[in-house]
Symmetry: C2
Subunit: 209 residues, 2 copies
């Protein structure tokens, strides 16, 4: 199946087959693909929670406007982000660059100075939104990877973030939830699977210059 057929095949799955679990190789693919997501400056401020625990998935339904797919999907993915990117976080990024690429400090210095000043002078609200946006890139990536791998998924912005954070103990980890995505296999009777995809005409979505 080519990538366009895969994207046509996918849809926001509302009813999952609760008995069909994703094999561990599929979960591993999603984990590796997530970790390869491009992020601003490569800072990777996004963490992926892979929730297979049935009790926790069920507890989160009430904080997801009672959307049952959160419990019925094989796994619930939650995209959480760092609550802040501070000097220490930047330090750990450059440690990683040095470790992986053996780049000398003097080569990294201009970029490092620029990055440190940027995050220090960024207004808190703008910084939080900038960090949160990186989770959307990761979800955009994983939605396409799911399609290519024939994994069903339901991208979700709508849930009570504070309750997710509480149930998952994210605050203590310096994280906060941004997006959620149940993944697994569609139920054979999910009526949404048969609906025609609603999209603008390509000519309406694109401007060629």
């Amino acid at each position: 199946m080519n990538v366009l057929d895969a994207l046509e095949w996918r849809y926001a799955t509302k009813k999952f087959d609760a008995d069909k679990k994703l094999p561990v190789e599929k979960i591993d693919t999603l984990k590796s693909a997530f970790n390869l997501t491009a992020t601003s400056f490569g800072l990777q401020p996004v963490r992926l929670l892979v929730i297979g625990n049935q009790k926790i998935k069920e507890e989160l339904v009430q904080h997801s406007f009672n959307q049952q797919q959160v419990a019925d999907a094989s796994h619930l993915l939650v995209f959480a982000v760092e609550t802040d990117i501070d000097e220490k976080y930047i330090q750990s990024y450059f440690d990683r660059v040095k470790d992986i690429r053996q780049t000398p400090d003097e080569v990294l210095k201009p970029f490092r100075d620029y990055l440190e000043t940027s995050v220090k002078t960024m207004e808190t609200g703008i910084k939080k939104e900038w960090i949160a946006k990186q989770a959307y890139i990761a979800m955009g990536n994983l939605l396409t990877v799911c399609a290519v791998e024939q994994i069903d998924a339901c991208p979700m912005e709508g849930f009570v973030n504070a309750e997710y954070d509480r149930v998952l103990g994210l605050e203590a980890k310096g994280l906060t939830s941004v997006l959620a995505m149940p993944v697994g296999y569609r139920a054979q009777d999910d009526m949404f699977a048969g609906f025609k995809k609603v999209r603008k005409q390509v000519e309406e979505s694109i401007l060629e210059i």
Copy 2:
């Protein structure tokens, strides 16, 4: 090439082969893939500008912190979003749903009422950020599609949005630029192509529950 190999192959291409243009079939794939991106409620507030015009690409370099890939890439993609989602926009969405799915008004009414109230009561700043985030999903999708299609790309947040808007005449179209992405083929001497990818360990990026 499987999807993980494709994601390993991709990198933020800094130097493109200015003589190698993307064939029209590849551009068509990107356009269709973009139009299939999932967006919040399916509202598709993101427009893709596909810029092949060399003069315009060159004019945008100065508004992109002089990053030459903007001019040298085969095409520059710009992800722009609606400056507002108002009642008229919501109306056109439901017209499309009715047109494609023949859903009766009375079935759509609860969702429609909910959506109209949501966008009417949403604080302007929050609404603008919510709309902008949809562009990040689209970029996340297209980055992966590019990788699968062996198209090189450079995702960019850093450019002067107001100048892009002016050069591209976006304000008159009710749009504003959010992200840019030169696409094409890497130059054989792009030193970044040989660099090891800097990523956290998967175990550090993922929390299993």
